[in-house]
């Protein structure tokens, strides 16, 4: 299969949907000739014109809010927020308006809005440009929350998000933008709410998403090659809705669960996953505690070495796997 980057996959998804449906359009800061802060929409304005690829003033509340209003009245806006950290400015519009409109109005509104927001550290941009706040949105009924980890998923899930009649927050992974992967040439979508098992295994379930997936896959391969340990790597892909069944049945099989995400561990979405498992059919099958490896409990620091250590590393994830495998009752 041809390989394209994660950013290209996202651009393809938007362009294909815009070609098929005049109601779909893209707006945000510098999405036009600049191509967005990360070049994701580069060139789109040439094809679709500045009416459908709209540059906006720096007004995140109005960016999201006008997306909500346009969505409620018949358009299917894709809104780009340059860094997910700036969702903080538009939270009322997203959480109090967009997410709740349908329910508050007794079903008499639909809000087919996609909010694209790149997240994560690793770019040397420090505390205000590097957060992973996806857990916040997973807490909000009315939203869907996608965190794609491969180009293929990014494209297929974004197409589903654009066709979805609900507001979807689509967390793109900055550090994956330039990573290539196989992406089918012909039309496809990937449903929101279906996990993907990237690697089968019977020894431990490694549940992860976003930019931690490649790291976890490396470790799983390494442990298999070196020690014959078979780690099952499961990516929920969307954290709301969450494909509880797939996670639970994996852990029921392996008896051990490690959850890895870049976001700060405390209050992060790993807690939700752990809680789901700890109150599931898998509980009696647990052979070890449910462990999380997430970001340290600090803002993202600037200095490159610190920035690397603040999130899960090869070492910290690998050690956690081995510790859980060694864990015994009564030890």
């Amino acid at each position: 299969m041809r390989e394209i980057t994660y950013a290209e996959a996202i651009r393809e998804a938007m362009s294909e949907e815009m070609r098929q449906n005049d109601d779909v359009f893209l707006m945000g800061e510098d999405v036009g000739v600049y191509g967005g802060a990360f070049g994701v929409s580069l060139g789109m304005v040439d094809e679709f014109g500045s009416e459908r690829v709209r540059d906006m003033p720096i007004s995140e509340a109005a960016i999201i809010g006008s997306g909500v209003g346009a969505a409620a009245t018949g358009m299917r806006p894709i809104v780009e927020i340059q860094f997910s950290d700036f969702l903080t400015i538009g939270m009322d519009q997203l959480v109090n308006q967009g997410a709740k409109m349908r329910y508050m109005f007794g079903g008499n509104a639909t809000v087919p809005l996609v909010v694209r927001a790149p997240e994560g550290s690793g770019t040397g941009a420090a505390a205000q440009h590097s957060q992973s706040l996806e857990a916040w949105f997973a807490h909000i009924p009315g939203l869907k929350v996608a965190v794609p980890s491969t180009p293929e998923d990014a494209k297929g899930m974004l197409k589903s998000a654009i066709r979805d009649d609900n507001p979807v927050v689509f967390f793109e992974q900055k550090l994956l933008y330039r990573k290539k992967g196989p992406v089918p040439e012909k039309e496809y979508t990937i449903p929101l709410g279906k996990a993907r098992i990237h690697r089968d295994g019977g020894d431990l379930s490694l549940i992860t998403y976003g930019r931690m997936l490649p790291l976890c896959l490396d470790i799983a391969k390494e442990l298999s090659d070196e020690h014959g340990i078979e780690v099952e790597v499961v990516d929920p892909r969307t954290i709301r809705p969450l494909d509880r069944e797939t996670l639970i049945s994996s852990v029921k099989k392996t008896g051990r669960a490690l959850i890895v995400h870049e976001a700060v561990t405390m209050g992060g979405f790993g807690g939700e996953i752990a809680a789901v498992l700890a109150d599931s059919e898998a509980f009696p099958y647990l052979d070890a505690p449910i462990r999380r490896v997430g970001g340290l409990d600090v803002p993202i620091p600037y200095c490159p070495e610190l920035e690397k250590q603040v999130v899960p590393t090869h070492d910290s994830v690998r050690s956690a796997v081995l510790e859980l495998l060694d864990w015994e009752y009564g030890s």
């Binding site: 109005a62 809010g65 909500v68 346009a70 009245t73 009315g142 009649d165």
Partner: protein, 328 residues
């Protein structure tokens, strides 16, 4: 523009339209009195924000719209709803949290909406509806629908960041939105003079190169003509800013001891009640008799009683419905 304005001013409104405007003002008044009555008897839970005394603004403004135009409204939204022509039965049912309400009982007083008829909803967040109005205006423009959005908000809301961002965006994109600031003198307890660092509120529009007009918000004809003008301008050329000067007669919400204002001030504004004023105008200028206008009031009160009867017989939503309608 001056000419056009004059033309609208002189435009004769037919008797039917005038009567409809009075009817709507009376409906709002009666609706609100009923709401107050329900609260005073503890028959309804939650809180509500009464529009009594401000009826001329909602009615004059919405009377200037085409049926397919949009409105966005506020926490003090009953008047806007009725102006826009909502069904009273289903509105009252929503107020009482019943399953036949516009929102199936899930929205209540602060969230009555009817998106299909262009009412994009009351809003519990001060300033929350303004960006939504801009988005609706964007739809209208992109789909070449020629629909205008009338965006209501208060003097308190005009200090929210969302106000600024929205007016700027609407102006940059020349969207068909009329921003209507209802200056009822207070935001809860705060006098507009203490919340807003400019005395002439129309000055705010200059920051967005937007035309602005003010109007006596207790004079329904003045509101009608001013908004009419603005709506047509917005339809053709982009956003307009309006300030309607009026007054909130009742407390801010059900729990307001009125510690921040004087009884005299309230009384002075009561004397400017827009309903008798409009009645007087109809009698003096339009061949209405006292009986005619009284009948309108009477009919309105009856309509509200009917709405109450309808709403009271409507069942509460079932517990099963609690998880419905979160997602499409």
């Amino acid at each position: 523009m001056a000419d056009k304005k004059k033309q609208h001013k002189n435009e004769e409104l037919g008797r039917e339209k005038l009567e409809d405007m009075l009817r709507k003002m009376q409906l709002i008044r009666s609706f609100e009195e009923k709401v107050a009555w329900f609260f005073s008897r503890g028959m309804v839970h939650g809180t509500t924000h009464l529009y009594i005394g401000e009826e001329a603004t909602a009615v004059g403004a919405t009377a200037a719209l085409r049926d397919d135009d949009y409105i966005t409204s506020t926490h003090r939204g009953h008047g806007h709803c009725i102006g826009k022509g909502i069904e009273l039965n289903r509105m009252m049912a929503e107020f009482l949290g019943k399953s036949d309400g516009y929102c199936k009982g899930k929205g209540g007083s602060m969230h009555i909406a009817d998106v299909r008829s262009g009412n994009l909803g009351a809003n519990g967040v001060v300033g929350g509806g303004i960006p939504i109005a801009v988005g609706a205006g964007l739809t209208s423009k992109m789909k070449k629908q020629d629909r205008v959005v009338l965006c209501f908000f208060g003097d308190g809301a005009n200090n929210q960041g969302s106000f600024h961002e929205s007016l700027n965006l609407a102006s940059v994109w020349k969207l068909p939105v009329v921003f209507l600031l209802e200056n009822n003198t207070y935001a809860m307890s705060l006098n507009v003079a203490k919340s807003t660092a400019v005395s002439d509120l129309t000055e705010r529009a200059r920051a967005y190169s937007m035309d602005a007009h003010q109007m006596d918000g207790n004079n329904v004809m003045e509101v009608y003509h001013t908004v009419r003008e603005a709506v047509e301008q917005a339809r053709e050329n982009g956003p307009v800013f309006l300030v309607s000067h009026t007054y909130r007669i009742m407390g801010h919400s059900k729990s307001d001891a009125n510690r921040y204002r004087t009884r005299e001030e309230i009384e002075a504004w009561k004397a400017k009640d827009p309903i008798p004023r409009f009645e007087q105008y109809l009698i003096e200028e339009h061949d209405f008799s006292r009986e005619d206008v009284d009948a309108v009031g009477e009919n309105a009160r009856n309509a509200i009683e009917e709405a109450v009867a309808y709403a009271e017989q409507s069942p509460f939503p079932s517990i099963e419905s609690i998880e419905e309608d979160v997602y499409a």
